[in-house]
């Protein structure tokens, strides 16, 4: 394992110190491992918090700031944060209008946020709403399982719900917007290599030079199937087809296309992939309204990519275009 770290045990706390040093406009609670907007709590605004295991940077800490999250809780690498953190974050961003918890659908994340919500409401009476993202079409959607993973849509949702909160809309409406984004979004990902969890010290899975894992999540967990390496146009097909079969993206105001890198994939490859995805959407008669290309929800040093499509409408596009000022996403300000 070769990593730019001091000690596997300190990766998260060291990185948080780096974030604090690089972004004086944020406030980092090192004890609780929470990244706050410098001006949190913003009075009268719904507070947005998210969090999850570390190793997905810039998600979530890199999305804290005006127009997006009010706070992010950093767990250990790939391990959801604990309720204490989320409860502290909830209190810290409560500006009197309630708090929205944005939770990716993983057993650990859901349970920890659940316990945090119970804690925070019991202790302080702050009103908490929760939205759970579950956009990964690689996983079967079923009542009898853990359900679909929350992946790429989380980035778009944090931006769009953040903009709705910035408009001072009430908690119920912000949660409603967030749920709409999740309902209208689908993702699919693929890995060319495994990632290496620092504490584990070696790749989570082995993959030969000739193969790739299709249907991976963002935690280095193996995918749904292993297939031979293929050119970018076929890979794009493998990612986009299941998305288009799962949900009708025609009609509406076009789609927001999010071409995400898993952490070790160079941008030039993401643009090659984006071109193929755009071609497929063109043939399917689905207009592209906006796009985002880059590593925004990553899986440590995994090579690979994921595609997220979000069916847009006027409200979604207006909120997407609204100003945002975070380390990871910024425009309009």
């Amino acid at each position: 394992m070769k990593k730019l770290i001091n000690d596997p045990a300190n990766v998260v706390s060291d990185a948080l110190r780096g974030i604090a040093a690089a972004h004086p406009e944020l406030r980092v609670d090192h004890e609780n491992r929470i990244i706050f907007r410098g001006d949190a709590p913003v009075q009268g605004k719904v507070g947005l918090i998210s969090g999850g295991g570390s190793g997905h940077e810039p998600l979530h800490g890199g999305f804290v700031g005006l127009g997006m999250l009010d706070a992010a809780c950093a767990g250990e690498i790939f391990t959801s944060p604990v309720p204490d953190q989320m409860a502290a974050a909830t209190k810290g961003v409560d500006g009197g209008a309630g708090v929205l918890h944005i939770v990716k659908n993983y057993t650990g994340d859901v349970m920890n946020f659940e316990m945090a919500g119970e804690l925070a409401e019991a202790e302080t009476g702050v009103q908490v709403a929760t939205v759970v993202t579950n956009d990964d079409v690689a996983v079967e959607d079923s009542l009898y399982t853990a359900g679909r993973r929350g992946v790429g849509i989380t980035v778009l949702l944090e931006k769009i719900a953040g903009a709705a909160a910035e408009e001072r809309r009430p908690l119920a409406e912000v949660a409603e917007v967030a749920r709409k984004v999740n309902a209208n979004g689908r993702s699919m990902g693929l890995a060319l290599t495994s990632c290496t969890v620092p504490a584990a010290g070696k790749p989570t899975f082995e993959l030969s030079e000739a193969e790739m894992e299709v249907g991976i999540g963002i935690h280095g967990e193996p995918g749904r199937r292993r297939v031979p390496m293929a050119p970018a146009n076929e890979i794009a097909e493998m990612l986009v087809s299941p998305i288009l079969s799962d949900y009708d993206f025609t009609g509406g105001g076009g789609v927001i296309v999010f071409m995400n890198g898993m952490g070790a994939t160079p941008l030039i490859e993401l643009y090659v992939m984006y071109n193929e995805v755009a071609n497929i959407l063109g043939k399917a008669g689905i207009p592209i309204a906006r796009s985002l290309v880059g590593p925004y929800i990553t899986s440590l040093d995994m090579a690979g990519c994921s595609v997220t499509l979000l069916k847009a409408d006027d409200e979604i596009l207006r909120l997407w275009d609204a100003p945002v000022r975070t380390p990871g996403l910024r425009w309009g300000i």
């Binding site: 790939f78 604990v82 057993t107 349970m111 920890n112 690689a138 399982t145 504490a199 584990a200 749904r224």
Partner: protein, 208 residues
């Protein structure tokens, strides 16, 4: 069983998990995200530190602080699940300074019920439930049949180990392994494995 016995139990659980950290992570690499060993070790190290510093003076206080510490330090799926289990055990232990065999068995079942309530897994979903359920059942059954506690606890451990082994062929329906679908079959569940360490620790420390 007094507070000292419970302290020994938890410390032995911590020792076993620490010793098998890489093994647990290995199991979690195959069908998860390679952190179960690290998660449990981090949490149990914090628990041992808490025990050293706070020296809780009743079984219930000890179990409660253990549960709270696990909740606050483990994260992931195992944190709330083990945490809830210990919190429920603490509640079941009541105010007693020492616990008899029957109370211990009730306590363990309360822990299982907590895991079920929190995680909503069913038997056969390939989770820690698959080791804990047969163990709790076996403990109840053997104690009811009049078996002395040490033997009953051994039986519970064996049932848990069988449950753990039986997770191998299963297709996971809960937790991270469920994302693999059919590919999760053929691998042993990490959480069921750490549960057998909890049982093994009980079998060695609580039988004295």
């Amino acid at each position: 069983m007094d507070t000292a016995a419970f302290s020994a139990w938890i410390r032995e659980f911590a020792r076993l998990v620490g010793q098998n950290k890489d093994y647990l992570t290995e199991l979690d690499s195959a069908i998860g995200d390679a952190d179960h060993g690290a998660n449990m070790t981090r949490g149990l190290n914090a628990v041992v530190k808490m025990l050293d510093e706070e020296k809780p003076d009743t079984p219930s206080a000890l179990l409660k602080r253990t549960g709270m510490t696990l909740v606050s330090t483990v994260g992931g799926a195992s944190g709330p699940l083990y945490g809830t289990a210990f919190l429920r055990m603490a509640a079941a232990a009541g105010d007693a300074e020492t616990l008899d065999d029957g109370t211990f068995a009730k306590m363990l079942r309360a822990g299982l019920d907590g895991v079920l309530a929190r995680g909503k897994a069913q038997l056969g979903d390939k989770t820690m439930v698959d080791a804990l359920t047969p163990a709790v059942d076996a403990l109840d059954a053997t104690l009811a049949a009049g078996m002395p506690f040490p033997d009953a606890m051994q039986a519970a451990l064996r049932a848990g180990e069988e449950g753990r082994d039986a997770t191998v062929p299963l297709v996971a329906r809960k937790g991270r392994a469920s994302y693999l679908g059919e590919r999760s079959a053929g691998h042993q569940d990490p959480g069921a494995t750490s549960v057998t360490m909890l049982l093994a620790a009980a079998a060695t420390t609580l039988t004295a």
